[in-house]
Amino acid sequence: MIFMNHTKSFKGGVHPQEQKELTENLSFEVMPNPKQLIIPLTQHLGKPAKPVVKKGSEVKTGEIIAEQDGFISAPVHSPVSGKVSKITVGSTVTGFPKDAIVIESNDVNDIVLMPSLDPGKVSPEEIRERVKLAGIVGQGGAAFPTYVKLSPPADKKIEIVIINGCECEPYLTRDYRYMVERTNDLIIGLRLIMKAVGVNKGAIGIENNKPEAINKLKEAVKNYPDISIEVLETKYPQGAEKMLIKAVTGKEVPPGKLPFDVGAVIQNIGTAIAIYDAVVKGEPQLTAALTVSGLGINQPKNLIVRVGTPLADLLDYCGGVKESAVKVVVGGPMMGVAQYDFSAPVMKATSGILVLTENEINDHEETPCLRCGKCVDVCPLNLIPTKLARLSSLEKFEDAEQLGITVCMECGTCTYTCPANLPLVQWIRFGKQRVMALQRERESA
């Protein structure tokens, strides 16, 4: 209250070391196709896709190999041409094995594309249909099928589409590169989304540590008065949906509610680009753009790789891992998943691979909670992380539920700040799962 900040933002949050300089100025590189690709059937939130190919089937690039199954689901396309060698359980970057189709690439370049559409004339239905067929999932991390987000319930009045250009996770520069390299495609993508959900107000939220991107975008939107560029304070988790909406529109999404409920649709930079690709170029989501970074990798890069490329190939391409590496993480350092099996493949929503060294992790001895209140100060959702974690670990789920454990988005700011180095997020995640199970049980009863 005392130190009012003039840059738009939210209360709480932290400012971890950015480390973006490792890859900030490297343009995207296209990685050659690997020999073998493992394509999980669950690359999105929701029901797994249903395979439509068998062992031994020949497939072409862009061909559907597994179709959408249910409302919240997404089809999967073959990212390369080749032959299905098997359908089996394989490790994934989420940490849990899933069914996957394994394709041996044959290095033939025959791609099956959908017809290109004119972004100026396309109808909202067509956009949604195209997004659905292209199997586009949100690039923000949760991998929610994008077409669902483009179909808001009829009773919710949507006012604004916000493109999330914050990229608040340290290390990652994928969105930044997109903004700098494909500025105009991004704007068209945004306009397509605005059309699909039927609003005439768009915004792109960017943290103020990306001046070049801000300049380029401001230049590009000169002719679009309905799109504004919102410059936000550099702070983690500025890019979280709720925080972004708060910063841009000043509205707070109530617990248990969605951005729809305050009239906003949020899309990631990567998603907007993917929509552009699907509509304008007719290309389904076959590749993932990602940042390979960290002090533990020999050649940090911004890469465009085929979905299904095993981590091992990718790390090899970037010159291998240094001796000093202690952790390999897929996603950002704050919310990513530590890897134990490098045969796990890149998925549609993978945004980065980090190889971290001891120095970056800053791990220190775990001590009991000292109730210093730092976690309470930084929690962007105004929760009491230390209490929630303690209650969860003692399995007092009712109390935890009372204190709003289900609101937590696991952004990790509390654990990052905690001087006692407690695994707060891990416990809260456990408690959250159990509380949600309890709630489901209650509803069914």
């Binding site: 009991p368 209490k387 303690r390 209650l391 007092k396």
Partner: protein
Amino acid sequence: MDLLLIFLSAAIVNNFVLSLFLGICPFLGVSNKTSSAISMGMAVTFVMVLTAIVSWILYFIVLVPFKLEFLQIPSFILVIASLVQFVEMVIKKVSQPLYRALGIFLPLITTNCAILGLALLLSMREYSLLQSIIFGLGAGAGFTMALFIMAGIREELELTDVPKPFRGVPITLITAGLLALAFMGFAGMI
């Protein structure tokens, strides 16, 4: 001023729980819910004030004039028991739902030594009726405060790593000891 002193003395300086050790049983058994602590406290305060009135009347209007002081203990306890029973019945008659929700505190109060202690103390100190009422009010307030603070602390204690032999009553006693130590700061205010 005299009344204020009686109130402060009973509530803080010579707190019933922390320095006179009256009402230890409910204090040790108190739940960790602050709202039930306050409810219980309110019930006790109400009964305390009623007890103060009734036992004052009994003692100074009946027992003393008839030289029956030696019947103090049995008659006090019977009167208190009847009183609580009566309140229980009235509340039940008046408000069945509330009785069901909160009536359980009442039988507990019957045999609470704080209530009988209050009656005995006020007869020993020869308070006037007004003083007795204020004394009861102060004792009730002090009891409620101790219960409230303890309920809060216990909630916190549930989440701590207290050595196993000390869990439950022993740690409550030790906390009460430290609380009593802290309340010594008020000594000398009367």
